[in-house]
Symmetry: C2
Subunit: 350 residues, 2 copies
Amino acid sequence: TDPTVAQAAREHQDRLTKPRGSLGQLEDVSVRLAALAAVVPAPVPATPAVAVFVGDHGVHAQGVSPWPREVTGQMVANFLAGGAVVNALARQVGATVRVVDVGMSPEAAAVVAAAPGLDRRSVRAGTGDITVEPAMSRAEALAAIAAGAAVAEGLLAEGHDLLVTGDMGIANTTPSAALVAALLGADPAAVTGRGTGIDDATLAHKVDVVSRAVGRATADGVTADDPLGVLAAVGGVEHAATVGYLLAAAAAQVPVVLDGVIACSSALVAARLAPAARAAMFAGHRSVEPGASAALAALDLVPLLDLGMRLGEGSGGVLAVPVIQAAARVLAEVATFDGAGVTDKTAGQE
Amino acid sequence: TDPTVAQAAREHQDRLTKPRGSLGQLEDVSVRLAALAAVVPAPVPATPAVAVFVGDHGVHAQGVSPWPREVTGQMVANFLAGGAVVNALARQVGATVRVVDVGMSPEAAAVVAAAPGLDRRSVRAGTGDITVEPAMSRAEALAAIAAGAAVAEGLLAEGHDLLVTGDMGIANTTPSAALVAALLGADPAAVTGRGTGIDDATLAHKVDVVSRAVGRATADGVTADDPLGVLAAVGGVEHAATVGYLLAAAAAQVPVVLDGVIACSSALVAARLAPAARAAMFAGHRSVEPGASAALAALDLVPLLDLGMRLGEGSGGVLAVPVIQAAARVLAEVATFDGAGVTDKTAGQE
């Protein structure tokens, strides 16, 4: 992004009829949106869309989640029927929900085999168990990245101007933690969380599973400076699709809101592959999952909401859409001191 | 509010297709909304409105703000023209903006003397300088409370189902801090902030001004167990109007979103006058002003947003409207495990 545009946006923000800095993070968001769009003010996003990428995980066999694998498919049916939380939140903010199978297990896929409305782009029927084998091959990771990018490009072609990440996949906080641990060199215990709400014993076991997965990848010769290799080794198909989705949004200079730890761990991969992609990323909220906060810190992104949420589906990202829109709208619509005839106490001072 | 309704709302929330507790504060908001409306689920608020109560402050003469008094009137003109931040944010969330003069100074009023659209309910032309005299008489405080209540009742009669507090009044963070200090017995230095952004020297002076105001009120025999007396002694006319607005919303069992320190200090007064009024209050955001956090803590209200905002006008309250709506919508619209055929891992466990 162009620093002169960011500077111009900041200067315009400082001429608006309000004390300078008084909108806090909203001002920073408005400046980043302008820099991304390369125009001051940036257009106000009007037609958001959330893509829910769905995958299953071989590591589920290790007992990292109390939820049965079939729930992935049942929840996809729920999304398609409009009955899940992400659907309700999307209706609230006027967002379109796109549900995309990129890696469901055969059992999960069977639940929605005949369902209309599912975007079927399966790259692989669930990942390998990352404690004993790679999640997927590099070629599969690339295919999933391409699938995610195609979804973003399709949404943009339909006129959507603000994208949100979403995900579904029982056990998918485990590969998320493994991605963060592997890419940041972080202690698995520091970046592994309770997911849907596991107890202390299961959490300790999950930390061990993440450690084994990262150790297994390292033993296979995968290093942190090889983000595609890490993604294939310990990630998930929905993570790979999210990486492509983020890269495509960034390439189109369209803002993309990150939801929780699946998105944040995928964003780490995307930013390692293409550092400029960070400019399009906005952190919707601070998930309870510690890996999300670790990834956001590494990306130098400040979350907009902090409501103690840990659902996924895109819920926290969708809920942040009005905040992003509001930030853009302030820069686009608020009168200046000169224009409104309001005395500016700080003219020439600050 | 009826605890059995809150319990029924919590039980319904726990049957929705998501891990229990995974929506964090949204779940608590949905339960409080149901308890307030006395029905599960509560109706989803669809037609929000923000009332911007305007007043001036005799304590401005003490040099607590670098902004000239005339700015109060200029900003009212800006509100009426739709050019201020609160207007832009209200357009984003579909809220009506009502601008109400309850206590503008003659100089400020002159700026908008002929302006259409201003709701003229002036009780007093600016307050007294609270360092040397009461802000207003008890009768004036009561009249302003009645004016604020009438504004709320009018908005409700027009069909608005979610109210937001707003304010305008150069220097009005000073009486806000004085109200919090007097009602909570707090150290003025702990509850006085930088308002629009004053420097260290002016902040130290402002703390002294607040201390003198509270000391003057105490010397006049006003005690913390007399909330109307404290309001008249060290408050503002817009604070008094906000108290009435909050009480009327609570009486109608309609949720009302608090903006920043003006609203939070007024909410303390309202809750002292009528403890049950707290049930209708939702803290829109955590203002940078320390008095806001102190008041919210005393009210046991958790803010929904924390974006480093300190503008007032109702901006932080309006920005929280979609979060409140989203919380209500989740409880109203999300499918249950039974209804959606999703396996519930926690059935009978938690």
